[in-house]
Structure formats: structure tokens, C-alpha cells
Subunit: 268 residues, 2 copies
DNA sequence: CAGTGGTCTAGACCACTGG
DNA sequence: CAGTGGTCTAGACCACTGC
């Protein structure tokens, strides 16, 4: 039996055993509390798409019944999922699967801010798809995306402008199979953030990302596309975005012009 | 009376009233739950130094008695303080006031990483204090530190090297009064992170910071101090660090050489 | 008004630390 | 072993949403 906490407890107990590691020779047993297990179960449901982005998930009470635990335990599991930005709680309404669409904060992963004004960005960005092609993954791209060198990938190049000023030039690489059928035209036809597009069109939800930031000098091509003089210093932002399971699903190399914008970060 | 939750409750109830805003004409009433109030009370004790950095704070049970609430409520308050990195919980030992000293992660606010290796940074940094002087705050510095232009500030310039390679050149400005008595020699004499130095020597604890990041070109002075050729692109990191009460206590402008290191950021 | 998340309590037991 | 944080439950009530 698992958690005979309450004074009386029948055998219709929870699901898993907190520590299936008593006499085992495991290095770090790492006792797993019930709510972590429940969190894992809910996570699975999210992964397999039992509830889709933007939808409500069952109420805490329902989930408590389903998993045969108390509401408080489900609550703690959902608390962590909410802290991870995988779900969003709305009092009185329910708990919803997080989505990159329908957010007031349009670009969740974009930390660039205009010098003037705190607003997300001055008006909507103008997007220009420069290129979109299928190719064999170079070794560095393959490594970043956990593919084999030579596997098919899609490469997109685009320029983002704010107030008619070209500000971001980015190249991005996507694994070929999950994004089969992606074309420049479909990209152009979509209104809203690209990550929302990935969600609705390909069922790929980006959950978290890592960025490596450097300062570089604009080369001839870059300076032309961004309409700055050659050798202008640019912020190079290399991002790897992950879906569920920590699976890398996008490599993106962005070049930011930082004379009227800056990359904002908060440290705690 | 405040929270007559339990079926029976005497008048020796909690401390504050959750909503002192019933018929009031307040814009956003913003009901404040008990645990938020408890959090505020604990925060006050931290601010006035009732418990110093590195020390234990009273146990959850003790605090529950002191504030006349249940342990669970204190727990939730401390949970948030821990999430804010103001306090560190250690199972079996107690809850400790967070500190920049005695951390395995030496530089909590420094996000620079070497290209090779995940380790915090290859060995300890070599620090070289270039300058340390008292002056009247220029207007931009005054604004950042919430001072009046002309107020006394301390300015420090230093170079950090990793593996004998100059990598960071930073200027930092501190308000004069809290840091009265700071000299280049005292700085040089201190082992460990500068923020730990501020804690132990001046009782100033940095709690959080904001950074604005740009790409710039090294000028003559900068390139000489960092031993790079002029016009090398550098990462410009402007940081404002805050103590309790969101009081700005340091302005720091760092220039990072990013050919062998990068600024790492994680997005959720 | 019912339903959802949010707060609070009381009490029991588990996991970890140190004397 | 006692003391601390960590987990779990059960139950009551509050705040918010929408029918």
C-alpha cells in the first residue's frame, strides 16, 4: 500500500508507490512524492493531447477523483505545472492548457524591448519571409536538434521590423518530419506569433527555450537585410526551443539591432 | 474579526483583516489573503535585520504561534519568499536567510558562461580594480539610483579575467551614504563575490536585478583594458540591482568579450 | 445560483538532519 | 532521538465567473 496517511484507509488507495527503492542499490533514491507523480500523469495527458492548447482541463475535484487522491494533492501538482507555464489557472473559470496564441503578451520568448515605452513592442511587427527551403541538416544544426547530420530540415529566414525599422534578422531550422508541409506561403498567410502557428498547424507546442547571446559584427548580407552599415555591432541570439520531454524542436539564430531596442532580462 | 474559518473560533484571531475594503471607493480592492500578510511581516523582519543573511529564521511552528495562524499559512508565506530567493529552505535543518556568500553558485547575477564546459566559470576569476573614486552623480546615474543629480556616489571600475584572459570590464556606481568608507583597498582585500562584500561590510543585500543588453563597439580605452582590437563587438550589460523595497542600490555597466564566452538565458 | 479556483485550518505521518 | 521542513488528507469557507 502506498500512503496510509489518514487514520483509516481502505485498500482503494492511490496509484503509485512513493518509494519503490528500499533495499535497492540506487545512487540517489530520490523519493518521489505523490503530487509529483500526479503532475507526471497530467503532463502525459498534455503530451498526448488529451486536452489541447487553450482548452480547459478537468477541475481539481474531477482530477482528484480520477487519480484517487485529495484535491490538495492535485492542487499542488497543478501549481507546479502553472509555475512551469504549461497551464494557466483562472479563478472561477478553470485551468487551461497554455498556448502561444490568444496571449496579450504576444511574443513570449522575445525579450527585445523598445527604448521608449514599456509596452511589449510598438504596435505589431512587420514580418517578411525572406526564404523558406528544405535541406539536409548541417552537423551543427543536426546536433542542436538531436538529428543525424543529413536529415531533412526546413530553414526559414525572415526579417522583423518595428515601426518600419528592420530590427531582427533570424534564421530558423525545424526538423523535417514534424513540420512536413510547411511553406513560405503558409507562413505568410498566418496572423500571429510563429509559435502559435506551430501549435495550430502542426501540433507542436514549444514549452521552454535556452538562449546563448553574443555580440557580433554585421557582415555584408546581414547589414543589407537589416539596412544598417556593415560592421554594425549586433546582438546574436541563438535559441533552442523545446517541446514536452525536453525534445529540441527548433534552432533559431537571431540578429538584433540594438540602437533603439534592448534585450531585457530580470535576475532573481 | 478576520478569518472565522473553522467552525468554532474565539476572538483571539489572526492579525489583520483580509479586506478592509468593502464600501470603499478603491480602484482595485485586491483582496489580500492572510499568507500574503504573513509574508509581508516576515519580509519586514528580514528588512530590519531581525535575522541576518546566512542565519536561520524561526521554525514554521514558532512563526505560526507568533502570528497566530496555522503552520500551513506560514508555510505558504515562506514558499513565496523561497521562490523569490529571499530565503532558502533546508529539510531537517531549517529556513535560512539567503546570502550571496557561501553559495556554491558563486556569481548569482552573472550569466556569462564559457563556451567549453557547463561549470559556473573556469576556476575563480582574477579581479583587478582599475579605479575607485567618489564623485557627484551624473544625471543618468542619479536617475537610475533614485538620487538627486549631484549627490555623492562611488564609482568603481574593474576588469575580470578568466584563465588570464580579460573578459569583463565593468563600471559600477553606488550611492554614497550606504557605502561610506568603501575604498579600492578594502575591495581588493576581500575574497569572494562583490555582493557578498556588500552584505558583510555594509549590510546591503541585493535581492533582484534588471539588465538591459545591447551590442556595441569597443572604443580605444575599452579595447585597451580588455586587450582586444579596437571596434571589437562587445556585449553591453547595464544592470540595476535592488535591495528590499525595490530600492535601487547599484548601477553597473558591464562589457563582455563574447568570443570564448556567452550570456546564457533560459526562457519559460 | 452552481461551479471553479483560492485560502485556511487541524492533524497525522514521512524524510532528513544533527546531537 | 527530537526537531525541522515536506507531504497528505478532510473539510469548511471565500472570491470570482457565468448562466
Amino acid at each position: 500500500m502506498a500512503y496510509p496517511y489518514p487514520p483509516s484507509n481502505d485498500s482503494t488507495a492511490p496509484i503509485l508507490d512513493g518509494n519503490a527503492n528500499k533495499g535497492a542499490a540506487s545512487a540517489t533514491p530520490a523519493f518521489s512524492p505523490l503530487y509529483k507523480q500526479i503532475k507526471g500523469l497530467i503532463l502525459n495527458s498534455l503530451r498526448v493531447g488529451e486536452w489541447k492548447p487553450g482548452e480547459v482541463i478537468p477541475s481539481e475535484m474531477d482530477l482528484a477523483v480520477r487519480f484517487r487522491v485529495s484535491q490538495g494533492t492535485v492542487r499542488k501538482a497543478i501549481d507546479e505545472l502553472a509555475a512551469d507555464n504549461l497551464v494557466v489557472r483562472r479563478q472561477g473559470k478553470g485551468t487551461f492548457v497554455a498556448t502561444h496564441a490568444e496571449r496579450q503578451v504576444q511574443y513570449r520568448f522575445l525579450k527585445l524591448m523598445p527604448d521608449s515605452g514599456d509596452l511589449s513592442l510598438e504596435g505589431p511587427a512587420q514580418r517578411q519571409i525572406v526564404d523558406c527551403k528544405r535541406l539536409r541538416a548541417p552537423s551543427d544544426v543536426a546536433r542542436a536538434l538531436a538529428l543525424r547530420a543529413g536529415d531533412a530540415v526546413l530553414q526559414v529566414r525572415r526579417v522583423l521590423s518595428f515601426a518600419d525599422k528592420p530590427t531582427i534578422l533570424e534564421d530558423l531550422w525545424l526538423p523535417g518530419s514534424p513540420f512536413k508541409g510547411l511553406t513560405a506561403d503558409r507562413l505568410r498567410g498566418y496572423e500571429g506569433p510563429m509559435y502559435a502557428f506551430f501549435e495550430t498547424e502542426f501540433g507542436v507546442r514549444m514549452v521552454r527555450a535556452e538562449e546563448k547571446i553574443r555580440a557580433i559584427s554585421a557582415d555584408a548580407v546581414q547589414s543589407q537585410l537589416l539596412k544598417v552599415v556593415a560592421l554594425t555591432p549586433l546582438l546574436s541570439v541563438e535559441r533552442i526551443a523545446f517541446t514536452y520531454h525536453d525534445l529540441p524542436m527548433e534552432l533559431r539564430r537571431g540578429l538584433y539591432v540594438t540602437d533603439t531596442h534592448y534585450y531585457r532580462n530580470e535576475l532573481n
